[in-house]
Amino acid sequence: MTTTDKPGTGQHGADQPRRPAPTHGAQAPGGTLAPEQMQPDHQESTSAERLHGQTEGQMHTQIMSLNVGPQHPSTHGVLRLVVDMDGEYVVKVTPHMGYLHTGFEKTFENRTYQQGVTYAPRTDYLHSFGHELAYVLSVEKLLQADVPERATTVRVILHELGRIHSHLVFVGTGLLDLGALTPFFYAFREKEALQDLFEAVCGYRMNQGYFRVGGLYRDIPDDWAPRVEKFLDQMERGVTEYTTLFAQNPIFLDRARGVGVIPPEVAIDLGLTGPNLRASGVPLDHRKDNPYCGYESYDFNVITSTDGDSLARFNMRLLEFGESIKIVRQALRRLKPGPVKDPNRKISLPPRHELETSMEAVIHHFKLVTEGFHPPTGEVYVPVESARGEVGYYIVSDGGSMPYRVKIRAPSFVNLQALEYACVGAQFADLITILATIDPVLGDVDR
């Protein structure tokens, strides 16, 4: 059913008159297509299609369609929800994505492997290091690159700090959606300190792009490790503060407990991963189950809950702060001086001082910058546990210096399917709670 050749439908084609010039009124519905222009495969649907002809609600009211977004504070981005309501109760939620679709997967096909590192962090802009790490690990598996130990340890530290960063935004903005303004400022106080650390290491506060295929862009500054230690102390105090501030707040508990329950078998059926799945009682964590970057040698626990409601999903993130802090402390103790790049000149750029003395280094530099390296043909996939769930880059190489195809396994995109399940029968205010605790990042959804 391709959209290009369907002469029988008469909805479009060469004989179809051009759309009339936009005029004021029902002809120009401002942002949506006119009904006569809608195709069967368009995102737009009529309420009759969504509800299979049902118009009467159980409360003897008409079912009303409510449009939430794309510019709505609770969507944390540009997500549009068409909510069919029966009184105050939700009958059906239809998310409309794609407002942030920038075609990263197509862009990857036209950039060298090393340039791809620029695009990976921009998908999930809150836990950028998760996407960066997944991309870099996949390419390294293709190349069989040899990553030095120091680079791996720094990657673990940043991966976990990124998780803390993402969860801080979750705690701050999630409670903001429920009307609690104060925790936002508390959480963003720590988030700013964390972004200072990211800035010190690579110059960017967000969308870092610090990892390279075969190692890191450069070594960390000398005073960075003590600064991280100091931040972890601050963070530990912060977590205690958040917990005392709102974990026992009766208004918050009323709005979160028992709301949007997802049983484990439904969570698996919907393909949920990450904290959302663990809140439903399935202890799946790729750091434990498919260890990468030496996670098998770190001592930490996988937090699970069996409640599966919004409160469980919320407390999950609060407890994961502690585990991430534990991992970072262990990794900081392991930090030994050493190289941070694969010594293979076919993958890593030569050091700057060599360019002045060695012709071979200049040739390598030139080839890497202009053309990039050529991994062998093959298809690889390395799963990584990001703050939102399983992130993986399925990379197909045809032997060229640019990937043939990159498919991003975006956890937010799959997790968003739980919204349609969990909101049915809930009140509209619960929809905000459920959306906040599912914690999608729209950059990750739309890619």
């Binding site: 401002g30 942002g31 396994r409």
Partner: protein
């Protein structure tokens, strides 16, 4: 012991010299070929049990025909597998010959014993494959995305609509023959987005074409009025 030492040392020395000279000869060593990862969680018995053929790839992959997909997926669901991802690939410009133009890979994972298996279905232009939505509800958005970006049709999907691209975009962007660069992007009814005009609009000096609808920027034309709620509420 002592007389043995020089006897031992000599051939070793020769070997060492020979090795260093041969290893120094190729200045640009070719990259090592990809070898399958150590099968710690082997799925080969499972593939044999389901009667599928194993594909030789770095990741554990099984080949399935479109007609057999439903049965294999149902059997894997009964084993406890979950659907993680659906990958669509257009192989039309691949360097090595491939059986058919498209491949759809279903990324399956077992959340308890942590086995991973890719189910690969080969498809030609115009061929369809059954939707896995009746088996895993996770297939809903994943198959919509493959349909949207590659134009592969899944039969039996309850709501096969576009999910990421704009409603009136023509074509499927992840196909290898989708035009790129300075080629105008085509929309329905002959409208198009000219890259140069689009960039001109970005500066603000010129009205340009600021969106996929190809209309004038608001406030420049006389006929532009703020959008109003259509009769009967939002769709």
């Amino acid at each position: 012991m002592d007389p043995l030492k020089p006897a031992d040392a000599k051939p070793m020395g020769r070997e060492g010299v020979a090795q260093s000279s041969t290893s120094a000869a190729p200045v640009i060593p070719s990259p090592a070929p990809v070898t399958p990862a150590a099968p710690s969680r082997d799925v080969a018995p499972l593939i044999a049990e389901l009667g599928l053929t194993e594909d030789h790839a770095a990741e554990p992959t099984a080949l399935v025909t479109p007609g057999d997909l439903h049965r294999a997926a149902q059997a894997l669901k009964d084993h406890g597998f979950m659907l993680m991802d659906t990958v669509g690939i257009d192989y039309s410009t691949y360097t090595e010959p491939r059986p058919k133009r498209f491949a759809v890979l279903h990324n399956l994972y077992h959340p308890r014993d942590h086995r991973r298996l890719f189910l690969r279905v080969w498809l030609d232009d115009g061929e369809t494959l059954p939707s896995l939505y009746p088996i895993w509800r996770a297939a809903n958005y994943l198959e919509r995305e493959v349909y949207d970006l590659l134009g592969v049709t899944f039969t039996g999907h309850p709501d096969l609509r576009k999910v990421l691209t704009p409603d009136d975009l023509e074509g499927h962007p992840l196909r290898k023959d989708f035009p790129l660069g300075e080629t105008p992007t085509l929309f329905r009814d002959g409208r198009h987005l000219d890259p140069a005009a689009f960039r001109a609009g970005l500066t603000g000096r010129d009205a340009g074409l600021t969106g996929y609808r190809g209309e004038l920027r608001r406030g420049r034309g006389e006929d532009r009025l703020p959008p109003v709620m259509p009769e009967g509420g939002p769709k």
